[in-house]
């Protein structure tokens, strides 16, 4: 999985310039339940990854999220 | 409206009773009513003891416990249940339906129907009709009809019209197809112009609950109720029963081409002893044919009273033999329904006690 591309897409969802792997998601301005929904949709449509509710709630950093999507990627 | 059904049977029944028992003699001290008059009321209405749930206990708790007992005893198999029909007026939540909750808690299959119907004391007979209807679908072989309420939780302790009367219980009735193809006759009427005869004014969307609706008000004759409590117009109900129920049963018997003499038992909803005695008198049905002992043992358990009548009076017999019965449910809505069928021999008929875990 191209992680750079993933972080770029995540930045678009959060309406921000850039997302770094070490960024804590909860501290990012745009990270709310709508962003979560957009990420789930992104994971499903672009990566074929189906992520469970408790899995996404457990991620802390952007890198965690990228790794989760990669692990579920078809 | 008349109906005919064929090829259906009740294969098993259970009633689930909460452990807590209240005694009228203890409770009458709470009423603003002279003791002598309370005792007279006890005699007439059949008040004696009743079962009520603990605070926080819901219909799904009783139903889940009862069904789990049936699974554990090998009387019912989880995977065979194709539909749960829950007839209740005291649902766990506005959303989701309580039958879905029961399905989830018991781990039943996804490929089934869960249906909540809001029906009062006519709800056992109407529930049976619904079950029969569902069994016409090829994929539906076994329907579990659950009737039950925890209405004691909405009765005002200062209302002696209703408080000493209400009992909580859940009944479980397994309905399946029957090879014998015997005819079942039924009829049903409804009158919404008298819907407010039995009502909880607040709590729904028409009048949401507020601190105001919890305040007790004097509704006459020294009875105190809040808008959050259940209100029953006793004399309106009595007049309704005396006027509408006899013609309903007469019409049912006539349609089926039979008479009172050919019916083994009349299994009626049990509003209170007085009302049922008057009904038997009016229809000239001997008291032995119309059991009238549910209220004095368990209280008025809403749409579960007919299953209670069976469990209390015929539990052994109905597992051994057939009985030709006329069932009649009548009450809130207003709704009144009756059904003529052969009952038994059932695979099981059992009484299950529910002890609330703290």
């Amino acid at each position: 999985m191209n992680k750079q591309e993933f972080y770029q897409r995540l930045a678009e969802i959060l309406d921000t310039e850039e997302v770094k792997p070490e960024d804590t998601l909860k501290q990012l301005d745009g990270w709310d339940s709508l962003a979560v929904l957009s990420v789930l949709a992104l994971a499903d449509s672009k990566y074929g990854a189906s992520i469970k509710a408790d899995e996404i709630r457990a991620v802390v950093t952007a890198a965690d999220l990228a790794n989760l999507v990669e692990s579920k990627k078809k | 409206m008349n109906f005919k059904f064929r090829g259906k049977r009740i294969s098993g029944m259970a009633v689930v009773l909460p452990e807590r028992e209240l005694s009228f003699l203890e409770e009458m001290k709470n009423f603003n009513f002279p003791e002598a008059r309370s005792l007279k009321l006890k005699e007439v209405m059949g008040y004696n003891k009743r079962r009520v749930v603990e605070p926080g206990c819901c219909v799904s708790d009783l139903a889940v416990h009862g069904l789990q007992q049936l699974f554990d005893r090998g009387l019912l198999k989880k995977e065979e249940i194709d539909a749960i029909l829950l007839v209740t007026q005291t649902a766990d939540h506005f959303m989701p339906s309580t039958s879905s909750l029961i399905q989830g808690r018991l781990g039943l299959k996804q490929d089934m129907l869960c249906l909540d119907l809001n029906l009062a004391c006519a709800g056992f007979v109407i529930g049976l009709m619904q079950a029969f209807m569902l069994l016409e679908q090829e994929s539906v072989k076994k329907v579990v009809l659950i009737n039950g309420d925890v209405l004691s939780r909405k009765a005002s302790p200062k209302d002696r019209n209703i408080y000493p009367l209400i009992g909580d219980a859940v009944s479980i009735t397994v309905v399946e197809r029957d090879a014998s193809n015997a005819t079942i006759h039924a009829n049903l009427h409804m009158d919404g112009t008298r819907a407010e005869t039995l009502i909880i004014p607040a709590g729904g969307m028409r009048m949401p609950s507020t601190p105001e609706t919890a305040k007790l008000e004097d509704v006459g004759d020294n009875n105190l109720l809040a808008k959050d409590h259940v209100f029953m117009d006793g004399s309106a109900v009595f007049n309704f029963v005396q006027t509408e129920v006899p013609p309903m049963i007469e019409s049912l018997l006539a349609t089926a081409g039979t008479t009172v003499e050919h019916i083994d038992y009349f299994l009626c909803h049990q509003p209170n002893r007085f009302m049922l005695q008057k009904l038997a008198d009016k229809m000239k049905i001997p008291y032995e044919k119309m059991p009238n002992n549910v209220v004095e043992n368990y209280g008025n358990t809403g749409s579960a009273t007919i299953p209670m009548v069976i469990a209390l009076n015929f539990q052994e017999r109905v597992q051994r033999e057939k009985m030709r019965v006329c069932m009649a449910g009548f009450g809130g809505g207003l709704a009144w329904a009756s059904m003529l069928m052969e009952l038994g021999a059932m695979d099981f008929n059992t009484t299950i006690e529910y002890k609330q875990k703290s």
């Binding site: 709508l34 | 506005f94 909750l101 016409e136 679908q137 009158d191 008298r194 709590g203």
Partner: protein, 360 residues
């Protein structure tokens, strides 16, 4: 549970919405949203406007108005009504059933049966199932009024920035009757109560009765204000539900009914929001024109009335003249999901009207 019905049809559908149209652009300051965040939210969910009932108007009022319109226009006669079904999760009372109250208000006969069924977004196909089954018990010529109605706005805070903008109140009335044509209807019903926390109202009924405590507003996350008497939604759980269970059921029903993805002319789904619907459309590889997703932008998410609104808004004109092969799918609280295939139309009536309160 699979069902097949024959010789049944829907002959008319009328949807009733509150008269006042509320626009997102006017409301967003209530939600503590900056203009920028509001713009993004509006774009993501294609928000525009919705209809909210005034406090004194219940879903039964909206449905009653629909029935009165059909009677007044002569689409149905009172004596033809054999049963009235009221499907809702926002009833007038705990007791008596709302269908009985309507029975009284409409002056229906003693032979008319009434049923209150508790169901949300799957409530239109569920109600159809009940109506189709009941018709086999009724004498020839008798018809059934299927009423769907919810006022979910009463179960939300108007400061809830995620849910309130999407909420819509509405009622619908469908006339369901027998027909000479076989017109087979195929339906699949599924439930999963183990996931009920995904969409529920925790307090207000018997599990947790109403109290000052349950009425207190709490902030779940910034701008998401709710009490225990409000609708609680687990977004990710609902998303996963819509993306996996519904497409699987739709595929199953297509096979069961002997159809292909192409043979269905219209996919008329419950409308939770356009974002999820677009995801589902992509997942099922359907052309967007076949799966409308525009109801929320105009009326909000109207629970089980979404499908009747969808039908009228997107196929109303066609269905007044011709028959179309449609797939209807309702899904939501329970969790419950029900999909069905049928030939719909031509309909005598297929429209959306504004609610007019009766003159006092």
């Amino acid at each position: 549970m699979k069902c097949v019905f024959k010789n049944k049809k829907i002959s008319a559908v009328i949807s009733v919405v509150p008269k006042e149209e509320l626009r997102f652009d006017d409301e967003y300051p209530n939600y503590k949203l900056t203009e920028d965040k509001a713009r993004r939210f509006k774009k993501m969910m294609s928000l525009d406007r919705h209809r909210i009932a005034p406090p004194e108007v219940c879903s039964s009022d909206l449905c009653q108005y629909g029935v009165e319109q059909l009677l007044a226009e002569g689409t149905i006669k009172k004596e033809e009504i054999g049963a009235l079904l009221f499907i809702s999760q926002t009833p007038d009372y705990f007791i008596p059933p709302t269908s009985n109250v309507l029975h009284g208000k409409l002056g229906l006969g003693l032979d008319v049966q009434c049923f209150d069924i508790n169901q949300g977004c799957a409530g239109f196909p569920l109600g159809l199932m009940q109506a189709f089954m009941l018709l086999d018990l009724l004498p020839a010529g008798q018809k059934i009024l299927l009423l769907n109605g919810d006022t979910c706005s009463k179960q939300l805070s108007n400061c809830n920035r995620i849910s309130y903008p999407l909420a819509g109140d509405a009622g619908s009335v469908a006339i369901v009757e027998r027909c000479a044509e076989e017109n087979p209807i195929y339906m699949d019903v599924k439930h999963d109560g183990s996931r009920h926390t995904a969409l529920m109202v925790p307090a207000g009924a018997y599990r947790m009765p109403s109290s000052p405590e349950t009425m207190k507003l709490r902030e779940k996350e910034e701008g998401v204000v709710q009490s225990l008497e409000h609708i609680h939604m687990d977004g990710p759980a609902v998303f996963n539900f819509t993306m996996s269970d519904i497409p699987a059921q739709i595929e199953d029903v297509l096979k069961f009914s002997g159809n292909t993805w192409e043979s269905i002319q219209h996919y008329l789904l419950h409308q939770p929001n356009p974002f999820i619907l677009k995801q589902m459309t992509e997942k099922m590889k359907l052309p967007p024109e076949k799966l409308p997703s525009n109801v929320v932008s105009i009326y909000g998410n109207c629970s089980s009335v979404s499908i009747p609104l969808n039908i009228a808004l997107n196929c109303g004109d066609i269905l007044l003249k011709e028959s179309r092969r449609v797939l209807l799918s309702g899904f939501g609280t329970g969790l419950t999901w029900i999909s069905m295939v049928m030939d719909l139309g031509p309909l005598q009536v297929c429209k959306i009207v504004d609610y007019q309160a009766a003159a006092k």
